[in-house]
Symmetry: C2
Subunit: 304 residues, 2 copies
DNA sequence: CTGAAAGCGCTTACAG
DNA sequence: CTGAAAGCGCTTACAG
């Protein structure tokens, strides 16, 4: 009962590697120290960085994350949500592959806090997203700063909200000479767009601002096949900073990074705050993008 | 106390959406219905399909999965393992990005079952991996079946076990004319290899069997730049079936799929079996690969 | 067959 | 300040 006994108990406890049962603790504290990450992004292109940020932010607080990939299947979504609720998750983060679509499952009346990241949320919820207008402006301004004057925007389908948002920001920044070509999110569309631009009469652009890295890669390949030098003759800039595409393009792509990991970090900290009852303002939070300078534009890779 | 009361209780229970607290159940049953997936594969190229398979296999059994990305950081690995143990996971699946390296964390004396999938395991553990020799044989035999005779193997670094395994299988199947070019896992190595092969004197190969889809893409692009037609003049086959690379190559790549999702499914079911005390034979289980026929080889896309 | 009690592994509030 | 009891939400084994 004395100090020595106390000491000995403590020592033995650590010696045999005693670890308290988190389930039993959770029963009392009403906290499971787990959260769920729900996504319909099968490829993981957007979800992986978000997940990395969430995990990084929460591991220090002892919380683990359930990853639930639900495709676009409402039934599967329902099953996963119920499984998470049964396991008493402290909160749920919903994430996806585009900002203007919601997951195929209703998260609006759950007993646990929900935060939306890179997917559409319900009114009055907490929503994190990238500031695509800012990203587009970064791209255009960079091209202008290295002397480009006739910048064409080759992008994805017009029904994407982020496509319209980027195109609008481009329009404001691009000046007098401007043109937007809408298409699909593929390399072949990039090819095709170069065909359209270079086979018509008149001046050719000296820069292409592409809606994603795949389109950018397509344009770079198409330009090379036409004997046009990137970046000497034409600068090309991408969007997404998807390593595997951006870094393997020849030359490697200068591109806009949406800072999804940081977005995940903030979503993680926010859901934790809500779980602990701390007040959080609802609303949309737009996170700034970051320009990643490689070699497809020319210019110094030292700006950032 | 009568049947009516019983009925009424049941009805009310479902009406108000009563769901038993899994934490409390776990306290009794010694089962948490959670497992942990530990990985050092940051890109998620291999982990995502494995994860999808694990999740798909286990969701029906009510088990959720903690995803823990530990990079190559032993300290982080330790933290995540302890967090999982605290949360009483029923088992752990370790996965990674190559078969001949182990995760930077010791899983050999845990109180819960461990299954290894696409990463090196400890002796006497249960290990799932793809049968790369089978995959290589599939590739070579397909090329031969469509009439190719002089097949060169352009692959990754020789210190990868899977590289040696595939090269050996290639050697056995390729017949008299054979050559292996070791390099790195990049498109530019594919380019370079085409340069080496086509700038030397003598006969040129009529087929390239590449060690991954990135190398294959590099060779296809390099061949096109030389005016050599794929698949008319040369067939190219990849490895990994990494959609984003294989499908966007022009022409889309015929490639070998390692069936990682199925590997994940089996790993999931196996760790569940172990958790339930069912007997499982230790040892390495090699899963067959599958040929995915697209257009980079020619031949009919109907075989499979 | 029904209903009350004991117990899973902890923590918290309360007597001594 | 120390130690025993009560209780988190369930399930299981045991009396009635």
């Amino acid at each position: 009962m004395g100090d020595k006994t106390r000491e000995r108990v403590k020592r033995v406890a650590t010696d045999i590697g005693f670890r308290p049962n988190a389930l039993a603790r959770g029963l009392l504290s009403k906290r499971s120290f787990t959260i769920g990450l729900l996504t319909n992004d099968t490829y993981g292109r957007f979800t992986l960085p978000v997940m990395a940020g969430v995990s990084e932010a929460l591991v220090d607080h002892g919380v683990s994350v359930f990853l639930c990939a639900i495709e676009d299947d409402p039934a599967l979504g329902q099953i996963h949500v119920e499984a998470m609720l049964d396991k008493q998750v402290d909160g749920i983060i919903a994430t996806g592959k585009r900002m203007d679509r919601s997951l195929p499952v209703d998260l609006s009346n759950l007993s646990v806090p929900v935060v939306y990241a890179f997917t559409e949320g319900t009114p009055n919820s907490v929503i994190f997203r990238s500031d695509d207008a800012h990203g587009a402006a970064l791209a255009v301004e960079w091209l202008q700063s290295i002397g480009r004057r006739w910048i064409v925007h080759v992008t994805g389908p017009k029904d994407f909200f982020s496509v319209r948002e980027r195109a609008d920001a481009y329009s404001i920044a691009a000046g007098e000479c401007q043109q937007v070509l809408y298409g699909v999110w593929s390399e072949s569309w990039g090819h095709e767009a170069v065909g359209l631009l270079w086979e018509r009469a008149g001046d050719k652009p000296d820069a292409l601002f592409c809606g994603n890295d795949q389109i950018a890669r397509g344009t770079v390949d198409a330009l090379r096949e036409r004997g046009i030098k990137v970046p000497e003759d034409v600068s090309v800039i991408g969007f997404d900073n998807w390593e595997i595409v951006a870094a393997q393009t020849r030359p490697p792509l200068t591109t806009v990074d949406m800072e999804l990991k940081e977005l995940g970090r903030q979503a993680g900290l926010t859901v934790l705050a809500l779980a602990e009852g701390r007040p959080v303002e609802p609303g949309v939070r737009k996170l700034p993008c970051r320009l990643v300078v490689r070699q497809s534009c020319g210019g110094e890779p030292s700006k950032e």
